[in-house]
Amino acid sequence: MEIPYTVKPRPDTGLYNAKVGIWLFLASEVMLFGALFSSYILLRVGAPDGFWPDVATGWPHGLLNIPIGTFNTAVLIISSVTVVMAWAALKQGDFSKFRRFMLVTLGCALGFLCIKTYEYNEKFTHYVIRMKDGTAVTGHLDINGHSPRFWTLATITDKKMTSVKVHVDVPNQFRYPVGMKRPEVSHEAGEHGGGEHAAREIKTADITFLQAFVPATGTFFAIYFTMTFLHGLHVFGGAMVLGYFTFFGRKMYESDPERMTNRIEVGGLFWHFVDLVWIFLFPVMYLL
């Protein structure tokens, strides 16, 4: 049985069926991400004093790596350009040019995911520690020269550690909730050169809270990981589809070039949507 209107436009819609289908799908995606962005706004605006980092003056700048986020934004913008170029190459009947542009797109997708993984790992080894005297610091634990992931106060207690060595962020970039005191940190005590991090031994008995930046740490990180992971899944899914057409699309192109070109257009529309989501995610999560 032949699938109708894969190339010719359907008379009632004026579009081929796959294009109508992708726009309906993207409409559902807008609702999904729209709901998450709305949740973010409501959580941020409605957070009581002291429960949202620095609720009085703004967002905790410095907890996310802005240069890396900017670089990832550039990577996705480039991938959108190359996916359009790949589609235009198919329209001109140049399959090898299409493949070259598509390989660049896939490289960008892979690069984006690798950088995101690095960022996640950085968060999983980055800790917030609150002390009994009301002070708090952020930094990396130093356990025999390596920085562990996902530790909590219970982990330290279970290991019967009397103290932990912490490379405290200098300047400590965490903006403290209202009423929480900012600790004094020596700039000379750094061990990573240039006073970048100050090593500090903190007694376990003095700690009331210790946790890596994971979703359970707070509302911000819960929504940050939810939205960026969901976006990452979309990047992965889009790359899989585009990769399939890149490596296995020649046969279809030779038998039905217009249909193949339309499929790439549909894939490109999805890719653009995913990139557009990031264009909104980046300033909301990293800058504002």
């Binding site: 726009w23 934004t73 264009i279 300033p283 800058l287």
Partner: protein
């Protein structure tokens, strides 16, 4: 809406993002006085300008393709 039209929407959004990030960097520079923030701001504005030029070239090259 074709990929061509959606690409133009995307390029417009990217230009606005670059202008926004540039403004944010300039605000950071005014607050902290770090010259790197000013350089970052200049880079963002340059990228925004580059994207506008790219958008015009893109429109010219693909003028035979429909917006639908």
């Amino acid at each position: 809406m074709s990929l061509k039209a959606f690409h133009l929407v995307f390029v417009t959004a990217s230009v606005l993002l670059m202008l926004g990030v540039g403004a944010w960097c300039f605000a950071q520079y005014r607050e902290g006085g770090e010259s790197s923030q000013l350089a970052y701001c200049g880079l963002c504005l340059l990228c925004a300008g580059g994207l506008v030029v790219y958008g015009r070239i893109f429109l010219k090259k693909l003028k035979h393709i429909s917006f639908l």
